[in-house]
Symmetry: none
Subunit: 231 residues, 4 copies
DNA sequence: CATGAATGAGAGTTCATTCAT
DNA sequence: GATGAATGAACTCTCATTCAT
């Protein structure tokens, strides 16, 4: 997307731009492809470490070892530990978005598609709790840490994108724009609340099941949306 | 509550048991009272540090210093850093419960009391984000860390207690037990979701306001409860 | 001199204040004395390392090892690596001053005392080249580095003190204040220049000897001072 | 000058030998010329980095980047980081010598030329403190580091050359050879002392000005030289 | 009960240098 | 001749915890 170039070591291609770069020098292209592959490898190692050990037990050393590198080598691919997590998070959101979009595309417009999109969102995080963690990692005590405004904006954008299908269907069902936005936000919050409670074992204590509760919430949302019809 | 369990050399009464211990030896009693007071002092220091600096900048040293102790001294009162946080969390939940109960008591039975109790719950955490952190601290990557099953049960019990008023009012409004439990769980999840999103700045991106959304959710809950009336 | 107190770990008694502290609690006094002794030990280790290996090959690890400590332990005594060097430098200047003062005291007032004081200054650094390095350590590329303004002022003060005897004698020999200051500065510069050249082997190339050259410079300075007599 | 000594795998012509090598093979000559040009480019990059960032913030990476190379490439031209600095120093001395010689040539023989030569020497370093650093870089703790005897001799030779004009004029003014050598050495030391003190801020503390002091020293040197006249 | 000292492991990062391609 | 990748050792500093006194 941008020149990137990374002549020396540090620039390290800020997370987000991949092969692109237009300059179709075939040699550079091959090199780039290889570098991207290695970067992906490191990312994969980071994810595996992170999923097994949790965030704060995952050190640069640990990641490097799993990737078959010495610690210093990682700094060719990422500028800092937090850059690694930023990349991980970006990639996670991309997967989320893809999953939601695919589910939405496969369903009939209207209520079914709304259910499909929201369900895919919820299921993504229910199946991959670590991905939810990822979204909160850069917050320590709920305060942003290594989260640059740019990264933050990028993440917000991807999140919005992942929720866009729900918004679209609510509109299609007759809900005014303002109401649709409100409902999407509430839906998002409800999902996150259920997921967090579920992952921390706080939902079992009510002898409830998060998926069922989410379905119920959706049912009522569909009802509400239907009420706007014909208005 | 339990036999104090002096596992290590340091007695380090596991958080939860206070003066008790029956043996009414007056000397021992006085000693105990003093020890409890000192423990409370340390806890207060921990809270102040934690609220000012956030979780990961709050070291044992920092707490000790604020309490006027050397780091080693804390281990007379707490078995580990995590034990400190456990105690802090217990105390936080006690405050939450008190606040909810007080708000509920001041409102007329039925819908007003439901609103008061739920509102108090939500407001408690909205006003004190750190207390919400506390509830999640012992989870790293959404997996428990220094959370013994006993502590976990104790915390669950306190949480349930804090939500009990809501449950009671839903019943009073005519909701069957099973439905009431379900609704309380969902209510809890919704609140948590909104709070988390709010604290991490993810709600602003929808240009929404968490308190308003929570009120709307409550409105609809009251409606649903009303629907059971006369049945 | 100041409260110092060092409750927790980091404060680490900024270099300069020793046992003092008035509070004649005998226990605290003994503890303090011991702590000071250990600090001196670390300082000694630092000096030995530094004299053998030179400044930038002297790491915290190296110092710790020589002192029989783990690296982390040093941070009880010094806040940072640069704090160690600050202390080392302060102590060096104190020795210099003592040596100059002692030599000056043993000589007859006037020219002999001027010669004694200046000679002691020069000899101190000729005999201990590392002490001269110390004075320049905090300059990387002739630009101050870890040199806080306060430390800088303290060092300047001690240097001025060490040169004060020369100034006094020049005045006594009849030189006006302004001229005396000028001559002391020039004397200082000449000494430093000769020492630097000597230590870097640049004087041998002229087949000269720094001590002889310094004596010659002094001779002429005495002549000049004498010329003011009777005016 | 020497047989280029390709010790390691990388040719890395030790600093000091340029195109020479007699073998007038035109192809080899062109190659050589190009290599020299590239070497000069790297040197220029090193100087710029070094002057902007200072010695210890100037890494091989930084130099390479400024020269448009990758770090590894530099090792084709220089055997080590210290070799780079050696070359830089050689070049610096060449500039010094040129400046001194030019100033001396423009002044009338005798005292004026002495003043011009010495003044040029002093001004060179006063205007370019980094060049003075360069001269001391290879000394860590006043002990040579990456300074091979050959390099050392070469540097000494250039220094002597830069001071030769002063020596010549002192002789011309009637000073015997031995005295002239002594005075040149002392002059050199005085200049260096003033410069070092000035650059480290130690002269300001006397509220003096290095240039003025140097002029005074010169005045007296001229006097002394004059005293030999007619003898 | 509390101190003061110390440990030991580990954190993230930097850098000159090597070498296959 | 130059690249891009990687090494390996080093760096300062932080922290929870232990324990003799």
């Amino acid at each position: 997307m941008s020149p990137a170039a990374a002549t020396a070591r540090r620039p390290a291609r800020k997370s987000g731009d991949s092969a692109a770069d237009a300059t179709a020098d075939p040699r550079r292209l091959r090199t780039q492809a290889l570098a991207d592959a290695r970067r992906a490898l490191v990312l994969e190692a980071a994810r595996s470490a992170f999923f097994e050990l949790g965030m704060d037990k995952t050190s640069i050393r640990e990641i490097a070892q799993r990737a078959g590198y010495t610690p210093g080598a990682l700094y060719s691919y990422f500028a800092s530990k937090e850059d690694v997590y930023g990349a991980l998070l970006g990639e996670s959101l991309a997967r989320l978005d893809a999953q939601v979009r695919s589910a939405a595309g496969a369903a009939a417009a209207g209520a079914p598609r709304l259910r499909a999109a929201a369900g895919a969102f919820f299921d993504f995080y229910r199946a991959n709790p670590r991905d939810l963690d990822l979204g909160f990692y850069l917050f320590q005590g709920m305060k942003p840490r290594g989260l640059t405004p740019e990264l933050n904006d990028a993440l917000n954008a991807r999140l919005l994108q992942a929720l866009q299908p729900c918004r679209d269907e609510l509109r299609r069902l007759g809900m005014p724009a303002a109401a649709a936005l409100q409902e999407v936000t509430a839906l998002f919050a409800h999902a996150v609340g259920l997921l967090v409670l579920s992952h921390t074992g706080r939902i079992r204590m009510f002898r409830q099941d998060s998926a069922g509760l989410f379905r119920r919430y959706l049912d009522r949302l569909v009802e509400r949306a239907g009420a706007h019809e014909g208005s």
